[in-house]
Symmetry: C2
Subunit: 262 residues, 2 copies
C-alpha cells in the first residue's frame, strides 16, 4: 500500500488499525496536521485562555466537547483516542508512558485541543519558491527557548519557544507575506535577524531539533513554535496530560488553504 | 471639557466619576472600543469555546483572570466594574437592571470577556474612502438574524447575527481587503449580495438598529455582528450575565492599527 496516496480518513483508519506507527511528515500532502494536547476540564479553561492570549504560539484549530474524543469541526469521523500514531501520557508533568492508543486513559472530563503545526506554512513557503533548509537537509527544524515570556493564564506560564528558518535576504519580505496569511498555524514571524535580541546565544546549538546551516546571504527568521504549549503545560504539572509523540501528528480533513485568511 | 480630545485613560476616569453616561461612538478616535460580557467561571469555558469556534462573530480581544476586573492586556489601569458608562444585569436571561457601575454585583468567580466591535473596521473603511451609510445617515447600523447557525459550545448556541453595509459595487473588493486585515474585529464579510441566501427577507426591516438606504449601484455586504454572542448568551439563560448597555462600550488603550494583522 502506498500510504502517501491515502486520504486523511483512510490514513486515520490505517493508524487506528495499527498499520502506521511512524511520524506523519509527508502524509496527506495539502491537508492540515495538528498537535494534540488533552487535559482534564478543570485545567481546560486556563489552557484555552492561555492559547487565546498567545495565539502565535498556540493556534487553536479545534477543541472537543468535554468527554468527546471526536473533533467535530476538522475531522467529524475521527476518534482522537485511536487515530494518532503515538501518544505520550504525563502525570504531574512526568512522562509515564508512550502508547499507540489511549482508550484506557480516556475519561468523561477530558478535553482535547488540536493546535496548528508548521507543516502547513512550510508547504506555503515552498510553493512560493522559498527554501526550507531543514527539509532540504533532511533534519528536524531547529527550536530555541527565548527570553520572551508568554502571557500567563492560571497555572500556565513560561517562555516562548521558536523555530528558526534561514531565509535568503531577498526572499524575507515574501516569507513574511506568505506566513501572515496563516495565523491559524503560527502566522507571521515573531523575530528576524540578531538571535541575541530574543535571548538566543548560539544558533548552532538548538534546544530541540537539529542545527541547520545558515549561509552568509541569509537572515535567520523565527516563528512561534507549537512546542511552546506542550512545554508550558508540562511545566504546569497538571494531574493528567496526554499529547501526541513528537512528529506523530493528528491528520485532519481540513485543507491547508482553508486555514488561509485570504 | 471637550470629551472628544481625551485619551482612553482620561475618558475612563471621567466615566468612573459618573461624568459621562452616554454612548461612546466617536470618543477616543483611533482606539479600540469593546463589547463586554461577564459570566460566572462555571459558564466561562463554554463561552470561550463558543468564541473560539465562531471567531468572526465573537472576536475575543481580552479575557480577565477569574475574579479580576482588570483587563491586563488592553487597559492595565482600568476597572471593568466602573469604567463602562452603562451596564445591563441579566439573571437566567431576564434583564433585571440597568446600572452605571457593577461593584455591588462583582464576585470572585466572575470572568469578563472583551469582544471586538465594528467601530474599528468602520474607521478603516472610511480611511480607505469607502462610505459607511448608517454613519452618513446618522443611524444605528442595521442588524439581521440569519439562517446560519453558529457552531454550538456547551449551553451556548443560536443563529449568527449580521450587520449590513451597502457598498458601491466598484468598492466591494476593496472593502473585503480592508476588513480582512482586522480578524480581531469581525474580519472579512460573511456574505455579499442576495440577502435571501442567508435568510433575510426584507432589508428595510432590520431585527435590530435602523434601516438605511441601498442605492441601485450598491451591493449589500454582511459582516458577523457582535450582537451574536450577547443574543446567544441571553438565550442560554446563565445564572448571571452582565453586559455593557448597547452603544456604551469599554474604551481600551489599544490602537485600531494594533488589531491589524498586517
Amino acid at each position: 500500500m502506498n500510504f502517501a496516496d491515502l486520504k486523511p480518513s483512510e490514513l486515520r483508519r490505517e493508524i487506528r488499525a495499527g498499520c502506521w506507527r511512524s511520524p506523519t511528515a509527508g502524509l496527506a500532502p495539502g491537508y492540515v496536521q495538528a498537535n494534540l494536547v488533552v487535559l482534564p476540564k478543570r485545567d481546560a479553561f486556563d489552557f484555552l485562555l492561555f492559547a487565546q492570549r498567545n495565539p502565535q504560539a498556540c493556534p487553536v484549530i479545534d477543541v472537543t466537547d468535554p468527554g468527546s474524543p471526536v473533533p467535530e469541526r476538522v475531522a467529524p469521523g475521527a476518534d482522537l483516542r485511536t487515530d494518532v500514531p503515538k501518544y505520550r501520557i504525563y502525570r504531574q508533568g512526568i512522562l509515564e508512558a508512550e502508547v499507540t492508543e489511549i482508550t484506557a486513559y480516556w475519561r468523561e472530563d477530558l478535553v482535547a485541543f488540536l493546535l496548528g503545526c508548521s507543516f502547513t506554512f512550510e508547504s506555503a513557503l515552498m510553493a512560493a519558491g522559498i527554501p526550507v533548509r531543514h527539509i532540504e537537509e533532511g533534519k528536524n527544524v531547529p527550536m530555541f527557548i527565548t527570553n520572551r515570556q508568554c502571557v500567563p493564564a492560571g497555572i500556565f506560564r513560561g517562555p516562548m519557544v521558536v523555530s528558526m528558518r534561514p531565509i535568503p535576504v531577498e526572499l524575507v519580505v515574501r516569507a513574511v507575506q506568505v506566513t501572515s496569511r496563516f495565523p491559524g498555524v503560527h502566522g507571521a514571524p515573531v523575530h528576524l535577524g540578531n538571535p541575541q535580541q530574543i535571548g538566543i546565544t548560539d544558533l548552532s546549538k538548538p534546544h530541540f531539533g537539529d542545527a541547520v546551516s545558515v549561509r552568509p546571504d541569509e537572515i535567520p527568521v523565527f516563528w512561534a513554535c507549537g512546542v511552546t504549549p506542550q512545554a508550558v503545560a508540562m511545566e504546569a504539572k497538571p494531574e493528567l496530560m496526554i499529547t501526541h509523540a513528537p512528529g506523530h501528528m493528528f491528520i485532519t480533513d481540513l485543507k491547508d488553504e482553508e486555514l488561509s485568511i485570504f
